[in-house]
């Protein structure tokens, strides 16, 4: 009986070693595994929330939280939420909420529209014009549709463009550091090429 049990233990141990070695190989292969696109974009969103100043009274959560609402399908939604939900910005807590309807927007301080929302993007942006909500998106016509910050990928690296006109019309202040790092800034209907 005890020898049988030992065999089972041994087999289990061998199996576990194999399982772990297989599942671990890719991570060990390099110095560090590459994060997913939306994990990195989430970190960008976290920085945007830090470097944008909302008009007085716009943050309905007061000093308590900043509400970031995301229109995105799975698995992007999950990656975004898992990376930045509950992080603190100054004294405020970043609260990430997944929404799917325009009616759910009131109360959001920032919204992110993923690529798969391209179809209703312009309708959503129009419905919230002037509401003091920071808008971030990723389709090629996001800025021309009235969005404020647009992600794009250049040689595998994430970059962003800023529509300063759209932000200023909502009285959102975008820090000069963000403007400096952006690829291009739309201001007064002209485009400045940055870096």
């Amino acid at each position: 009986m005890s020898s049988r049990r030992r065999r089972i233990y041994l087999r289990t141990f061998v199996f576990l070693c194999l399982f772990l070695s297989v599942s671990e190989t890719p991570q060990h292969a390099g110095a560090q595994s590459t994060p997913g696109e939306y994990q990195v974009k989430a970190a960008f969103l976290f920085h945007f929330a830090q470097l944008v100043e909302w008009p007085v009274g716009a943050l309905n959560g007061g000093d308590a939280f900043i509400k970031l609402c995301i229109f995105a399908d799975e698995p992007q939604r999950q990656e975004l939420q898992a990376t930045i939900e509950g992080k603190t910005i100054g004294t405020r807590v970043l609260h990430v909420v997944a929404i799917s309807e325009v009616q759910e927007i009131p109360g959001c301080n920032a919204i992110f529209l993923s690529r798969d929302q391209a179809r209703r993007q312009s309708a959503i942006l129009r419905s919230i014009a002037g509401m003091g909500i920071l808008t971030v998106g990723e389709t090629s016509n996001f800025l021309s549709d009235g969005g404020m910050i647009r992600f794009h990928v250049d040689e595998g690296k994430i970059r962003f463009d800023i529509n300063l006109d759209a932000a200023e019309s909502c009285h959102l202040q975008i820090s000069s550091r963000l403007l400096l790092l952006s690829t291009s800034v739309i201001r007064g209907h002209t485009t400045d090429r940055g870096r």
């Binding site: 976290f46 698995p75 930045i84 690529r115 990928v153 690296k157 994430i158």
Partner: protein
């Protein structure tokens, strides 16, 4: 004990998950330096690393005003695009151009559209709606180590938009004095278990062009095309792409062909080429980690075409192809990036005998096994990269083929990059090389007997082989001006020749007649060399200029024992030695975009085609959020010029007409 195992398992899992560091702790600058390219995306980078690559982007397509893929390909420097008649083109790079350019491989979303019956591409039936194309990658030079046989002088990869990028509806209608084209309707949405999907339908009609003699070519071209694509996320790591298309079309032609062996032997037949086909492709991609991904792709393709119009017919062919392809991409250690794969393709065809074209055997099945591996090694990360690859194929036609490649890129700084490559590639014989018989012409002979001139395939035909030496230099003088240049030297062996045979008496087909046979052989060898240079010059924020220039030279020679005297001069003089282009793109206020391009193509001495300068221009105007209006003019500088009249062409050559086309698109 079970509890123990569970504990070990549970304790193991969080250990894996906690490896991802907190990205919010990184600065914006650090975040901007993270490469997020997934491994599957890296494949594009590999193909671009050390090769002469040009990418036509979605923006280029939007601005071009092109009505079909061949028109779009004109902008690629180094590509030789010549229209033959309303529905046929000769497209190649680095020489050997023809209606069936047999050394250029073309793929649509990973599906080879190069036919193994005629060794070439039917550009008239391969018509992906250009509104659904994400980009077209064109690689000049051999790509056989990765893409397989027949990628000898180039590879064209047409990649369609993901269904997620084509959500919503879109309708476009176009018309002009040369065409009613294209009429497109597309709708994309999301379904619960399917994910994002789209369906589309397109139809067009191009008017007939005049023949070289100025008569009506009767070659008007119609095509109807329906397609769908679904991109389903099976899990966070698995995605499934399923796409399919069905098309049917026809185009007219006046064919001069022998019809009988009693006078009058030859006739000018007003025929209609009819084609029909469908295909279905499915690709499952599994991303195991950021450093390992696999993909499994399966497709089936059915093509049928012919010009049977009842009594007279010059050809009638059909082909079924099934292909399964597996690829694994893995990052090995810190410096190596490996892609390897296995493929199997089986195709069966039927060539129904007509008086003009027949094949022995009439139908044939062929199998192709392939395996390849490529390793990109960062000898010094960001500075020196070496890429070694090879592909081994086994086909029923030719046995084993080995196609190796070695490429080296040196990037001394962020503004300069130099690459060099040595590679081998094969053009494998097709049915038209081994099994075919073409009755070209019947002439009145002595004693009332006819003489039939016929070309025979050679069952012992070997692969044509290329060894290519290439080097390229890319530099950006400033953020506004960059230049990309390539120099190549190619050596070809066992090129296809046409060997004349001795005249003999033949009784089948009846009546008894004299046969003047010609037969394919591998009797030629030769060299080509050339230079391809193009630049991207942002003159102002709103104005971009793209000049380009291509020089090409070819020398072919017969092996001892070959009696082919016609193929070498015909091929040498069938590709322009100088080509130049200038494209200009201006963004105007009020959402207006103006594009203009001029293409100079030097004469084709073997075909008596004089040099020409072709000018095309287009204006697109985005009216609000949902409407786009585009007006395009083609051949503005000169009405009625010929572009191609090669002896290989199966249709009468036409004269390109000045044409204006307008297109209105509405998306909702």
């Amino acid at each position: 004990m079970l509890v123990g195992i569970a504990l070990v398992l549970l304790s193991g899992l969080p250990a894996c998950a906690s490896q991802a560091s907190d990205l919010t702790q990184k600065s914006l600058e650090d975040l901007m330096s993270i490469e997020i390219t997934s491994v599957s995306k890296k494949e594009e980078k590999i193909s671009q690393a050390a090769a002469a690559v040009f990418v036509i982007s979605r923006e280029d397509i939007d601005h071009s005003g092109a009505l079909n893929i061949p028109d779009l390909l004109r902008m690629v420097p180094g590509l030789d695009v010549a229209q033959i008649d309303a529905s046929n083109w000769a497209i190649s790079s680095r020489g050997f151009n023809g209606q069936y350019s047999n050394k250029l491989l073309v793929l649509v979303d990973g599906r080879a559209v190069y036919t193994s019956i005629f060794a070439g591409v039917f550009w008239d039936s391969e018509n992906v709606p250009i509104d659904s194309i994400e980009r077209i990658e064109v690689i000049r030079g051999p790509g056989a180590a990765v893409w397989g046989a027949n990628a000898v002088n180039g590879v064209i990869n047409i990649i369609t938009l993901s269904a997620a990028d084509t959500q919503g509806g879109s309708i476009s209608a176009g018309a002009g004095d040369g065409s009613v084209a294209p009429e497109t309707i597309r709708y994309g949405a999301k379904a619960r278990f399917l994910g994002a999907y789209r369906v589309s339908a397109e139809g067009f009609h191009f008017n007939a062009l005049p023949t070289l003699a100025g008569l009506d070519g009767e070659d008007d071209w119609r095509l109807a095309h329906g397609g769908f694509r679904a991109d389903t996320a099976l899990s966070a790591k698995d995605s499934l792409t399923t796409e399919g298309e069905v098309y049917g079309g026809n185009a007219g032609d006046i064919a001069f062909a022998p019809i009988s062996l009693v006078p009058p032997e030859n006739a000018a037949l007003a025929v209609r080429d009819r084609y029909f086909g469908w295909n279905l492709l499915s690709r499952w991609t599994h991303t195991a980690s950021a450093r390992s991904a696999t993909s499994l792709q399966v497709y089936f393709d059915r093509t049928k075409r012919g010009d049977s119009t009842g009594v007279e017919s010059t050809y009638d062919i059909g082909q079924n192809t099934f292909d399964i392809d597996f690829q694994h991409h893995i990052a090995w250690g810190a410096r190596q990036d490996i892609v390897w794969g296995l493929g199997y393709r089986v195709s069966s065809d039927a060539i129904k005998p007509t008086f003009r074209i027949s094949a022995t055997p009439e139908s044939r099945g062929t199998r192709l096994f392939s395996s390849f591996a490529q390793d990109e090694i960062a000898i010094r990360p960001d500075r020196l990269h070496l890429s070694l690859g090879a592909r081994v194929e086994h086909s029923d036609f030719t046995g084993f083929n080995l196609q190796p490649s070695a490429r080296l890129t040196w990037t001394p700084d962020s503004k300069n990059s130099i690459w060099g490559a040595v590679s081998g590639a094969d053009r494998t014989p097709a049915r038209s090389d081994t099994d075919i018989r073409v009755n070209f012409e019947a002439l009145p002979g002595p004693g009332g007997q006819s003489i039939l001139v016929s070309l025979f395939g050679n069952p012992n035909q070997k692969s044509e082989h290329l060894t290519a030496f290439e080097t390229g230099y890319r530099t950006s003088f400033s953020s506004r001006f960059s230049v990309d240049s390539t120099v190549f030297f190619n050596r070809y062996h066992d090129l296809t020749s046409v060997e004349p045979g001795a005249m003999r008496i033949e009784s089948n087909p009846a009546p008894v007649h004299l046969l003047l046979p010609e037969r394919f052989g591998n009797g030629l060898y030769g060299e080509t060399h050339g230079i391809e240079v193009f630049a991207n010059w942002k003159l102002a924020r709103i104005w971009t200029l793209n000049p380009g220039y291509t020089f090409f030279s070819m020398h072919l020679h017969p092996f001892a024992g070959s009696n082919d005297t016609g193929t070498a001069p015909g091929t040498e003089g069938g590709t322009p030695d100088h080509q130049a282009q200038l494209r200009s793109s201006v963004s105007l206020p009020w959402n207006l975009q103006w594009n203009a391009s001029a293409y100079f193509v030097n004469r084709l001495p073997a075909q008596s085609i004089p040099s020409y300068t072709r000018m095309d221009t287009g204006v697109t105007w985005r009216l609000g959020e949902s409407f786009t209006l585009g007006v395009t003019g083609q051949n503005l500088s000169k009405d009625l010029h010929p572009e191609y009249s090669g002896p290989d062409s199966t249709v009468q050559s036409g004269l390109m007409r000045r044409a204006v086309n307008a297109k209105l698109s509405w998306s909702f």
